[in-house]
């Protein structure tokens, strides 16, 4: 059942990413140059809606939450490495799969690069990565835990701030770019 649910969620997610043009590396580059925020606003809206729903549903239903541990050196370091790859290639691990399905040739190279990255990571794990992971590990912690506040309250405030920013910021920057 889990596998069927995951497959169906993946089908819908793939269609959404294709429709919002997240699988277009040119759109990712424009997002990161802050020229066109539509994909960033799409992600922010997703998070705001999801956070409110998950925190409220958690009051009544058993939810399959999975909080990832905050081992700060690995998480921040990994994010910084990821950002360079994101800016250079214009793909993330999911959008290059969607790009492959669309027939994008550069997405194939991103996938091959990703598999090479996973292999390199596996080879280096014991030597380099495993010693880094216990550094500054705060564990599976949420912002609601840190603030000692109920999750629906934190989710509601976060969603309001996110949606306010999304509504207020212009989506496409005006034509004031130099050249």
């Amino acid at each position: 059942m889990d596998r069927l649910s995951a497959l169906l969620v993946g089908v819908a997610m793939g269609a959404l990413l294709q429709r919002v043009r997240a699988s277009d590396p040119g759109m990712i580059a424009r997002s990161l140059r802050l020229e066109d925020l539509s994909i960033i606003k799409f992600m922010a809206t997703t998070i705001a809606v999801g956070a409110v729903l998950v925190s409220l549903a958690g009051l009544a239903l058993p939810m399959h939450l999975d909080i990832k541990p905050a081992y700060l050196v690995g998480v921040l370091g990994g994010g910084l490495v990821f950002g360079v790859g994101f800016g250079l290639g214009g793909f993330c691990p999911g959008t290059c799969v969607v790009g492959l399905a669309e027939g994008r040739r550069d997405a194939r190279w991103a996938l091959v690069g990703g598999i090479a990255g996973a292999l390199a990571f596996t080879l280096l794990y014991d030597l380099v990565v495993a010693p880094l992971l216990p550094l500054l590990d705060l564990g599976k912690v949420t912002v609601a835990d840190l603030l000692h506040l109920p999750a629906p309250l934190v989710a509601g405030v976060m969603a309001a701030v996110i949606l306010g920013a999304v509504a207020w910021l212009p989506t496409v920057r005006g034509q004031q770019r130099s050249s």
Binding site: K41, I47, G79, F86, P93, V97, G113, T122
Partner: protein, 180 residues
């Protein structure tokens, strides 16, 4: 090698101005979907499938070595829900692109340094390497850490997201400037 055009925004067909922009509608639906996923089986996540795929290949090629590798043992077999999610991405992405009846998108330069298609493929390859290496170091990617993580209010998702956008924005800006 072909010369590459710069990636440009497509010309939108003139139509009645929608009251709600596309990103807002699609983002709302994705929010429903990510919450439904957590209710049904677990948070969405993509990057763990890459090492599981590598693990499946290595278990077939060098079973002794793969069986002793701590990371492959930790990540487990390929037959996880996340792998089916990635299979779904292929199906959904293909269906959506066919239904929109657009031709297969030709590669376009995403910054001025990509003057030939070989350079676009090089950047895609190196970018692909770095996003998976970084995601596995952090334990998640755009979907697992940023979308699912921040949806669950996790500190790790917010820290990862801050790191991604810090170097992502810097890299994109430097590449845009460097090509001139």
């Amino acid at each position: 090698m072909n010369a590459l055009p710069q990636s440009v925004l497509p010309v939108e067909a003139p139509r009645a101005r929608a009251a709600v922009p596309g990103w807002a509608r699609l983002g709302f639906v994705f929010g429903l979907l990510s919450a439904a996923s957590i209710a049904l089986w677990g948070p969405i996540g993509v990057s763990s499938t890459y090492p599981r795929l590598v693990g499946a290949a290595l278990r077939w090629l060098v079973p002794g070595w793969a069986g002793a590798n701590a990371y492959l043992v930790k990540m487990g077999e390929l037959a996880k829900p996340e792998s089916f999610l990635v299979l779904g991405l292929l199906i959904g992405g293909y269906a959506a692109s066919r239904l929109s009846r657009q031709p297969a998108p030709a590669p376009a330069a995403i910054h001025p340094g990509e003057t030939r298609s070989a350079l676009r493929y090089r950047d895609a390859f190196i970018g692909g390497f770095l996003i998976i290496f970084g995601a596995r170091l952090a334990g998640g990617c755009t979907s697992g850490h940023i979308i699912s993580g921040i949806t669950q209010l996790s500190l790790s998702g917010m820290v990862f997201g801050a790191g991604v956008f810090a170097t992502g924005i810097l890299t994109a800006r430097l590449l845009q400037r460097g090509g001139r």
